[in-house]
Amino acid sequence: MTGLTRRVFLVRGVLGLFLSTFGAACTFLKQRAMSSLTEEQVTGLSSTEFKVIQVCLDLLIPADDTPSATTLDVDIQLRDEVDVNPQIKTTLREGVFWLTYKAMERGRGDFPSLDETEQITLLTLAEMADQGSIEQLFFSCLRNRAFYHYYASPSAFNIPGYHTSPQPVGYPGHSKPITEQP
C-alpha cells in the first residue's frame, strides 16, 4: 500500500489516542479524535506542526549557492497563508499528522527527530504516493506553496539575462540570443 485513505487514516488516529503514550503526537491525536472540528474552528498551525513544516521546507529547498527556504522566510509566509486558507491548513495539518505517524512507526517521537536520510525517505514516499492520498496531497501542496513563496524573492534566483522583475527595464534585446541580452 503506497498511501493511506482518509478513512483508514482517521481510524488509526483514534486508535493512536488509546494506545500511544508519545507526547505531542498523542496530544494532537487526542484533540483530533475528540472533536469534530470544522476547518473554520481550527486556528493556525501549532508550534509542533510548524516545526515539521519548517524541516520539510528546507528539505524541499535547501541552501546551495542560494539560501534555503527558511532563510528567506518561506516558513513565515506559508504560515501567514495558512492562517487565511482553511483548505491549505487542513492539507498541511493532515500531512504533518501522516509524517508524525510514520516517525512514530520508526520509533521516534516526531518527524524532526529523524535523521535527514530518513526524513528524505518519508518525503519521497509522500511524493510517490497515489494521487489523491493524504500524503501525496500534502506533498504536492507543500511543494507548490514552497516554490510560490521562495521564487518570489530576488535572492532566490539570479541568472544572466533575467531581470528579477520584468519592468521597468523590459527586454529590448528580446530578438537576440540570450547571450547577447544587454
Binding site: 529547498i61 535547501p62 542560494t66 528524505i120 494521487q131 521562495y150 533575467y162 520584468p166 523590459g170 540570443p177
Partner: protein
C-alpha cells in the same frame, strides 16, 4: 430613494470594455454627450500592476471583489476515454482534471474601465471574410448581416486610435490603408517556432498587435517585458482605458461612473427603453433616463441583464422577442502544448503571440472539419515566463538537484497555442441561475456548455498540429498540455444576442439595434453571428461599436 437623472446624456453606455469604450470615443468625436456606467473599478497602471515588483509572478492580473462578475456553471458533459489524448495534464501533477466530467473552471474577464482588454494579450485581428458567411456556405452558425467591406473603414479607425502594429497587407483581409505602425520584430524564441511552422509546411506572419512598436499618441513603445496579461504599466499596450476611453474622457463630452452596476432596463412607451436602474458606488439605487442606451457588457453579462429586465411589456426579458437572448453562446476552443527546447532561448522575453499562423484559419482549411483555427507562441499566456512556474510545473523533483535543474532549464520553454472556431449548438447558452443571486439580490448568469463532435474534432486537429510544430521546432518532450475538452476556460465568448436581418432568428439588426426596442443598441461580442477561426474579437468589437456610434449619430440627425 431613487434619484432621477435626466438630460445629462445623449447616450448612456453600459460597460467600459472594448465595445463601450470604442463607442464612447466615436460618439464624443461627434460631440455627442455620453455617460458610461461601469460596474468595476478604474485601474491605475502606475500603481495597480505588479511588474516592477520582485514578487510580480505571484499574481496574474490584480483582482478585487468588484473586478469580476458572478456566474455559475450548469452541469457539464461527461468525458470519454476515446478522447483521452485531449485531457489536460502536467508531467509533475498529472491530470489537471482527474474527474470524468468536464470541469467549469473559469470565464476569464475583467470588470473595470477597459474591461477584459486590461488583461488581454492584445492581438488585433480582423475577421476572415470567409468566416462571415458560415450559414450560406456551410449550413452552420449564421451569416453576418453586413460584409467585411462595410466593416473595413471602422477597423481602420479602431486600429489608428489604438496604434496597432501589423504586417504588410495580405490577400485574406484586404486593407484600404497600411497599419499605423510597423510589425514587431519576433522574439528569439519565436524564431524557433517559425522554423517549426515552416518545417510543418505552414505559412506564418507577424501578428497584428495592440502594442506600440514605437512611440505613438503620447504613449511609449513596448519594451518587450513579455507580460501583457498582467496589465501594462507603461501604457504601450492598447487596452481600451488608455486608448478609446482616455480620448473620450479628454473630449469633455464623456462622464465615466465606476462601481455602478446596472440591474434593470426599464421599458417605456412606443417600444423604447425609458431608463436604466443601477446601484451606484455607495450602494444606492439610482435611475438614469436617456434617449439612447448602448449595452456593452460582454456575451455573458449582456444576456444576463436583458433576461433579468422583465416587465409586463417584456415578460421574457428585454429584446428577447425571438427567444434567442442567451442562446448561441460560442466559447473559446483552445489548446496549448509546452515543451523544453535544448537551447536557452530566453523565452521569457518578447511580445506574447508576436507571430501567428493563419494557415488553417479559413472555415474549410481543416480537412473534413468545418471551422478553422490558428497557432501562435504562448509562453506568456501559459504563464511560463518566471521561476515560480518553472519550479512548480517544468522541473521535476526537489532539493539541490531541482535548484540546479531550474537554473539550467530556465528560458528553454516553448509553448504553442491554438484557438479554433466555436460553432453554436442547442446545449451551449446562458440563462439565469435559479438558485444564487448576486449581492444586490439579482440572478446571476448561468453558463451551459457542451462541446459537440465537430468542436472535439477541431481540438484533436489543433492538438496534433501543436505537437507537430513543437517537434519541428526542435523541442524535446512535451511536459504539459491543456485545452478546452476537459475544462471550460474561456476568454472569448460570443453570440448571445446575435445580429441578423430576421427578427425571429436574431436579437439585433445589422445596425446592432434591438429589432423591437428602438433606442437600445448592443456593442459587444454577444452580437457576433459566428466566432471566426480563432481570431481575437476585440478589434471587431471595437469596429462594430464605432459603426454603432455613427448610426446613433445619424439617427439623431
Amino acid at each position: 430613494m431613487i434619484a432621477p437623472e435626466s438630460d445629462v446624456a445623449d447616450v448612456v453606455i453600459i460597460g467600459a470594455g472594448a465595445g463601450g469604450a470604442a463607442c464612447a470615443w466615436a460618439l464624443t468625436q461627434m460631440n455627442v454627450r455620453v455617460v458610461v456606467l461601469e460596474a468595476g473599478p478604474r485601474f491605475q497602471p502606475d500603481k495597480d500592476y505588479m511588474l516592477d515588483k520582485t514578487n510580480w509572478e505571484q499574481q496574474v492580473f490584480p483582482t478585487c471583489s468588484r473586478s469580476e462578475g458572478k456566474y455559475s456553471f450548469a452541469p457539464l458533459q461527461k468525458l470519454e476515454a476515446r478522447h483521452d489524448s485531449l485531457r489536460s495534464w502536467n508531467h509533475i501533477s498529472g491530470r489537471m482534471n482527474p474527474e470524468h466530467v468536464r470541469y467549469g473552471w473559469k470565464y476569464h474577464h475583467v470588470r473595470g474601465v477597459g474591461g477584459s482588454t486590461l488583461h488581454f494579450t492584445g492581438e488585433s485581428h480582423r475577421m476572415n471574410p470567409q468566416s462571415m458567411t458560415m450559414s450560406s456556405r456551410f449550413g452552420v452558425a449564421a451569416d453576418w448581416p453586413l460584409t467585411y467591406q462595410e466593416l473595413e473603414p471602422y477597423y481602420l479607425l479602431a486600429e489608428n486610435c489604438i496604434g496597432v502594429a501589423g504586417p504588410d497587407p495580405d490577400a485574406i483581409r484586404p486593407r484600404s490603408s497600411l497599419y499605423p505602425l510597423p510589425a514587431h520584430k519576433p522574439a528569439y524564441a519565436s524564431r524557433k517556432l517559425i522554423e517549426g511552422f515552416e518545417k510543418s509546411g505552414m505559412s506564418w506572419m507577424p501578428n497584428a498587435r495592440a502594442a506600440l512598436s514605437k512611440a505613438y499618441d503620447g504613449r511609449p513603445g513596448c519594451n518587450y517585458c513579455g507580460n501583457c496579461n498582467r496589465g501594462c504599466p507603461r501604457r504601450d499596450k492598447g487596452s481600451a482605458d488608455v486608448t478609446f476611453m482616455a480620448h473620450a474622457a479628454a473630449s469633455g463630452f464623456c462622464t465615466i461612473k465606476t462601481l455602478c452596476q446596472v440591474i434593470n432596463l426599464a421599458t417605456g412607451k412606443n417600444d423604447r427603453i425609458h431608463a436604466i436602474e443601477y446601484i451606484d458606488g455607495k450602494g444606492q439605487l439610482q435611475r438614469f433616463v436617456a434617449p439612447v442606451f448602448v449595452l456593452a457588457c460582454g456575451a455573458i453579462e449582456t444576456p444576463r441583464l436583458l433576461l433579468s429586465s422583465q416587465s409586463s411589456s417584456a415578460p421574457d426579458g428585454v429584446a428577447n422577442e425571438s427567444g434567442l437572448v442567451g442562446k448561441n453562446l460560442m466559447e473559446t476552443i483552445s489548446w496549448i502544448s509546452s515543451g523544453v527546447h535544448p537551447e536557452n532561448l530566453g523565452s521569457f522575453r518578447g511580445l506574447p503571440s508576436d507571430i501567428i499562423s493563419w494557415h488553417f484559419n479559413a472555415p474549410d482549411a481543416i480537412p473534413g472539419i468545418i471551422g478553422g483555427c490558428r497557432f501562435s507562441p504562448v509562453m506568456s499566456e501559459a504563464n511560463l515566463v518566471g521561476p515560480i512556474n518553472y519550479a512548480q510545473r517544468v522541473v521535476k523533483g526537489w532539493g539541490r538537484s531541482h535548484k540546479k535543474a531550474l537554473r539550467e532549464v530556465f528560458g528553454h520553454v516553448l509553448s504553442i497555442g491554438a484557438i479554433g472556431e466555436s460553432l453554436p449548438n442547442d446545449h451551449t447558452y446562458v440563462d439565469l441561475e435559479p438558485d444564487f443571486k448576486d449581492s444586490h439580490g439579482n440572478p446571476i448568469a448561468r453558463i451551459h456548455s457542451q462541446l459537440d463532435e465537430q468542436a472535439i474534432a477541431r481540438m484533436t486537429f489543433m492538438a496534433q498540429k501543436a505537437r507537430e510544430i513543437l517537434h519541428a521546432s526542435g523541442t524535446g518532450e512535451i511536459f504539459e498540455e491543456y485545452g478546452s475538452y476537459d475544462m471550460f476556460s474561456s476568454t472569448h465568448v460570443f453570440g448571445t444576442a446575435r445580429m441578423g436581418n430576421d427578427p425571429t432568428q436574431s436579437v439585433v439588426d445589422r445596425d446592432c439595434r434591438s429589432h423591437r426596442w428602438k433606442n437600445l443598441y448592443i456593442a459587444d461580442a454577444s452580437v457576433f453571428p459566428s466566432s471566426g477561426g480563432g481570431e481575437a474579437p476585440s478589434l471587431t468589437i471595437e469596429a462594430l461599436a464605432i459603426r454603432v456610434a455613427g448610426i446613433i449619430k445619424d439617427k439623431r440627425a
